[in-house]
Symmetry: C2
Subunit: 147 residues, 2 copies
């Protein structure tokens, strides 16, 4: 159950000497239980539902800190604000330029690419930070085939 996941997370952070404040716990809670690709603002409002006085900068700072600790990861799905995940849930994204929907990429999808790049260029891929854009099946069907 989800309260459990949060507690586990909190416990392991505490073991690392991380101070657990209300704001920090609420941010983690929102990440564990909330909708799939929350932006900082969405997280802020979840947090404020429980603790109305939490300031936006606190959420940003907590996300930064949690990212530095390797617990959280952020991704850019397009031109808007960044979205956040628990690092354990990290995955690639395919975002449709027409409808804006984000598909989770099957985990092996980038594996092949990563191996190719590594072999040919010595480059180690981190394919999760930016989404890859394109057209989803539905939108591609409707689009007047540009050139």
């Amino acid at each position: 159950m989800s309260g459990d996941a949060l507690d586990t997370l909190v416990a392991s952070l505490r073991r690392e000497g991380v101070r657990i404040t209300t704001a920090r716990r609420l941010v983690l809670d929102a990440l564990v239980r909330g909708t799939p690709h929350p932006t900082a603002e969405e997280l802020l409002s979840s947090v404020r539902a429980m603790a109305p006085d939490v300031h936006a900068s606190t959420v940003y700072r907590n996300l930064d800190e949690l990212e530095r600790l390797g617990v959280v990861v952020h991704t850019h799905l397009g031109h808007g604000p960044a979205t956040y995940h628990l690092a354990a849930d990290a995955h690639g994204h395919l975002v449709c330029e027409a409808c804006g929907r984000a598909l989770e990429a099957p985990p092996d999808l980038f594996g092949q690419l990563a191996r190719g790049v590594k072999r040919r260029l010595g480059f180690t891929l981190h394919p999760y930070h930016f989404a890859v854009l394109g057209l989803c099946a539905g939108c591609a069907a409707q689009t007047p085939a540009r050139t």
Copy 2:
């Protein structure tokens, strides 16, 4: 020669009924002749070298318009400002998270990925809009292998 490339471009735009202003010509000139991955600001300063009174918003508007016309394309190489290319030069990018350098991806690299995604998800990839991050060979060697 490069003046030629610019002239060709200008001529073909004019044929499409696009009005060629000083600012617009200078933006194109900077794209044709300048450094590989210019940001809007870099373009602005190239333009201003020839016409000091050109305003930043003019450069943005021209880049938007040229993009709508399919002549120019922009790419996000990381967290900073967007970078611009002539559409004819479009290519994928591999950006090193440690040193920030951008490698041009070999053109066939994404082909395989694109085919896989298409077949399995019906998703048509546009792999050029966002860079893919990672660690280049040199930096990977120096990095203390995180987990």
